[in-house]
Symmetry: C2
Subunit: 236 residues, 2 copies
C-alpha cells in the first residue's frame, strides 16, 4: 500500500518554530524518513530545530525546485508508491504555494496517493487578512515579470482587474527589486487604487499597511529593501 | 495611543484547537478583552475551549457579519482608538478571508491602527496545497451564484480563466448544495479540465482528490453532502 504525502509548512521569519506552527506538526515530521524539499540545506536546518530524535543524516532528502526536470518527479514519488510516507517542505511557508512543490502532488493524485496538508504560515493569506482588502475574492499572481515594460503592463492588468471585478490582486517580487517595484506602482497606478505593502510578515519588524496610492505618494517609504514583501492592489 | 487589532484564526473542523493552531495564539487571546466576531456563540465556545483564565462573561463581544451596516464598523473600532486591543474572530478559519471581517481592518488602516495576523488553518490554501494545482497563480472566487443559469455561467468563466491563463480557480458553495454543484460541473466542464474536491479539511474524514472531469464522471461520488468543501478548477 502507498504511503502518504504530508505537505509540511515551515516558518517564514526568524524565531522559534512553535510560534507559527501547531505543536503536533512536529510529531508528523518525526514520523517521516523521506523528504522532498525545495532546498536541502534549509530543510535540514528546519528539521534539526524541530528535533527529529535521531541524526538528520539518517533521513533521505530529494530536491524538487525550479531546476528539477518534470520527468524526474515520477522518480521522486517511487518510495511513496512502495509504502514510505513523504514530507514535502518548501524554502519558506506552505509547500505547493508560490513554489514548485505542486508537481509531486499532481503526480500523487494520478497514482491515487493520499495527500495531507498541515497548518502553517502563509505570507500571502496573512498579508490579505491584515490588509482590509477583499478577502471574498482575491488572486495570487506570483512574481512580476522582470522586464520593465512587462512589469508595468502586469501592474496595470492587476489594477484593471481589481477595479473592474473588485478582486484583490496579490503579487510578490524578488526582495532586492521591492523598492523599484514600489516606485513603479506610485508612478503607474491610479491615485484612488488601494495598495497594501506587507513586509517581514510574522517577523520582528512586521509592517502591514494599506492606503490609496495618493497617500503612499506623500508618505515616508517603508523599509522594504531586500526584505520579503507581499503587495496587494485593490479597489477603494 | 491606539490598541492593536489581532486577526485570530479558529479551527475549521472538530477536535483540539492545539492541533491546528500554534500554542502562543492562546497567549494573545488571553491578553484581549474586546472581540469583534462573526458569531458570538461560536466565538465564546472557541475562547472557552482555549481557556481565558477568567469568566467569558467579563469579555466584550461585538458582531460583524453580513447583517452589519458598514456605518456601524466605525463604532466597532472606537474602543481600539481609545487604546483597547481587539481580537477579530470569524466563524471558522482565518478572519478577513471569505467572511465580512475585512471591513474593520479597512477602517483600522484609515486610522493608522496596527493590524497583526496570527497563523491558523485556511481551508482555501490547505485545499490548494494538497491539490497539485497551480500554486503559483490562483484565485479565490467566494460563493457561487445561487440561480442555476448564473451558476453554470460562473463555472464556465472559471474554467475559461483556468484554461487560458493557467490560473487555478477556487470557489465554495453552501454545503447543502455541494452535490448539485458537483453534478453541474460534471455536466458543464470539459473532459480534460482538472477538478479538485476537498471535503472536511483537517477533519477526521478529510478527503482531497484531483482528477480530470472525465475521470470524476466514472468515479464513485465522494460524500460531500452538507460537509464543508472547497472546489478548484485547473488546467491539466
Amino acid at each position: 500500500m502507498s504511503g502518504t504525502i504530508y505537505m509540511i509548512p515551515c516558518p517564514i521569519a526568524e524565531g522559534e518554530w512553535e510560534r507559527v506552527l501547531p505543536a503536533p506538526n512536529g510529531d508528523v515530521m518525526r514520523s517521516i524518513n523521506y523528504f522532498v524539499v525545495e532546498n536541502t540545506r534549509t530543510a535540514r536546518r528546519f528539521l534539526s530545530k524541530v528535533g527529529m530524535g535521531r541524526p538528520i543524516e539518517t533521513l533521505t532528502f530529494a530536491e524538487l525546485n525550479e531546476h528539477t526536470d518534470l520527468r524526474e518527479v515520477e522518480q521522486l514519488i517511487k518510495p511513496v508508491l512502495e509504502g514510505a510516507d513523504c514530507g514535502v517542505i518548501s524554502e519558506a511557508g506552505l509547500p505547493g504555494v508560490a513554489d514548485p512543490g505542486a508537481a509531486i502532488v499532481a503526480v500523487a493524485h494520478r497514482h491515487g496517493v493520499k495527500v495531507v496538508p498541515l497548518v502553517g504560515p502563509s505570507s500571502i493569506l496573512m498579508a490579505l487578512m491584515a490588509s482590509g482588502q477583499n478577502g471574498q475574492s482575491f488572486a495570487f499572481n506570483g512574481y512580476l515579470p522582470i522586464k520593465p515594460a512587462e512589469r508595468v503592463q502586469a501592474l496595470r492588468r492587476f489594477e484593471k482587474r481589481a477595479l473592474t471585478e473588485g478582486q484583490a490582486q496579490i503579487f510578490i517580487e524578488a526582495p532586492y527589486r521591492n523598492v523599484k517595484l514600489f516606485d513603479d506602482m506610485l508612478k503607474n497606478l491610479a491615485a484612488e487604487s488601494m495598495l497594501t505593502v506587507a513586509v517581514d510578515i510574522s517577523g520582528e519588524e512586521e509592517f502591514i499597511q494599506t492606503a490609496p496610492i495618493k497617500v503612499w505618494r506623500s508618505r515616508k517609504l517603508p523599509d522594504m529593501n531586500k526584505r520579503p514583501a507581499i503587495f496587494i492592489i485593490g479597489r477603494a
